[in-house]
Symmetry: none
Amino acid sequence: MAENPPKRQKTSESEEKIECDALRNFKGFKIKRILNQNLSSKSVFLLGNLYSESSPGSAGDASSGTPEGGVACDDADPQSSGNDQAVVLLEKTAFTEDLLPTLMSDKSVLNRSMQNDIYGVYECFPPKELSGIKTTLIYPATEKHIQKYSAQDVHLINESYQDYKNITLPYIEEKQFNIQWVYNILEKKAESERIVSEDPDPETGFVMLPDMKWDEKQTSNLYLIVIIHQRGIKSLRDLSTSHLPLLRNIQEKCLKCIQEKYSIPADELRAYLHYQPSYYHLHVHFTHLKFNAPGTNVDRAHLLSSVIENIELMPDYYQRKPLAYVLRENDGLLAKFREARAGNGQ
Amino acid sequence: MAENPPKRQKTSESEEKIECDALRNFKGFKIKRILNQNLSSKSVFLLGNLYSESSPGSAGDASSGTPEGGVACDDADPQSSGNDQAVVLLEKTAFTEDLLPTLMSDKSVLNRSMQNDIYGVYECFPPKELSGIKTTLIYPATEKHIQKYSAQDVHLINESYQDYKNITLPYIEEKQFNIQWVYNILEKKAESERIVSEDPDPETGFVMLPDMKWDEKQTSNLYLIVIIHQRGIKSLRDLSTSHLPLLRNIQEKCLKCIQEKYSIPADELRAYLHYQPSYYHLHVHFTHLKFNAPGTNVDRAHLLSSVIENIELMPDYYQRKPLAYVLRENDGLLAKFREARAGNGQ
């Protein structure tokens, strides 16, 4: 038996639940697979069996055909072995100021791996008390937990205008993404109290309101969305010379408004469009430059100033330039691209 | 004296340089201040004195009036104590797949801090070998290094080509940034064992090697730098039709090489240039699409495919298009822009 045997509880709904005592270590834990991994935030999400290989001859995991099986969750009740699954979220922790003097002392051990001129690269092994990893254990974990914490592969598509016409546009039209919620905002049927600024001109006008990702408590993570009044402009791909007054109007008025309302100068803001956008009614994102907002990467964001300048340089720029963007493995549009590429023998 | 006394070297330019032996720990290190701290990437950049308090009665730090002084860099030569400054970059490392079985075993110690229903929160103390912190030591560090790694307000500059000619280019030429370390790599005088691939062609060739930000332990945060052999191409701003063979060669060969060596298909990679770059010898970044690498934001990164396509559409695109980028408050270039804008009454 593992060091931390599960115990049985009757819940109010009379469901039987397994709840584990505090684990002392991961003895008996068997990794089934990595659900997700984030290298920039230094985290990894794992799926595993919490009490595998705990006793010789324990029953196999009935719920999975993986060779990693061999689970003995609760010898007293073999039925429960079907839910010995645990999701473990491991996250490296940020450095805290108060512990830096301990870290930067003779208590840390250094191993040098590289030296070039004045640059040396080391591995620093801190004293044990500074090596803690934040660990969240979800046990027993359901399929929903597993899906919630699973990653998807992503792929970079370089979409020519021909691709847009033949693959992307038919896909958008076929799906008929519902943008009634956008019209509700423009018509003041919803969220009207959230509107920060409006220009009612039907050709060059817009509505500006806070994005859901902004807590509105501080301006250092300011995130505003500007939705145009004009309908039928789906994305960047539709823009050309005739839209310059619209784009310039948004740039000028919104920067001015944010300066006045939130005291953020224009050169501390980032104004950009997404391609692909998350909905096909033209809108512009305004975020604080210090805020590393999601969707500001070069594989999705297009600066408003750059869009204006590209059209000034070449009126049909967005009907000629291939545009690269990232699609997730299970995105319907990626499937369409794969079909088309296969059909072309690409 | 500290355990790791600096040693003096005569370089080929007859400059005296301090170079330290491999440090074994941070004994004698004195934190002067936190230059920057990133809670999401779990990193902290410190400024400190490397050999302070190493012997009783050591000389104070002549170069700084901080109370933390007390530096004895090299007892034999008090003059050198002015540059005992070190910049230390500490970054928690991402989890690597091969070490997960060791981590998820009885070798890790768990302390539970919270339990609510099926959710338990723990601190996990891994075995020592898994507790390494990536540490970059820059020693001796100049004011420029200190500035480079300090947190600062940021500003978005939209640089016209006229601005480039009148402000940016003169600034680059005036500063004469030292890129000897780049030539050392190209000439195999340094880091030659790190080269992953090379095309020796003097016009279209390059050297590819891992970026310092890549741990080289797993491919999901792959980060390779491709440095061109041709000299004198400072940045994006110099590129036009004559460079298309170079750019296409890099794109084709590097993607192929990464596919072969690391089994990552082209559509899971991001190839891009920085503008402004951190050094003015043309180089291209290749990172895994899943890796949210620093410098992939729209306000600094330019996809290699996009650069090629823009020049195909318009040979002098990069001599016409305004380019937006972020400059930090104390960047010398920002001061030049401010001067110029003030002179123009802008």
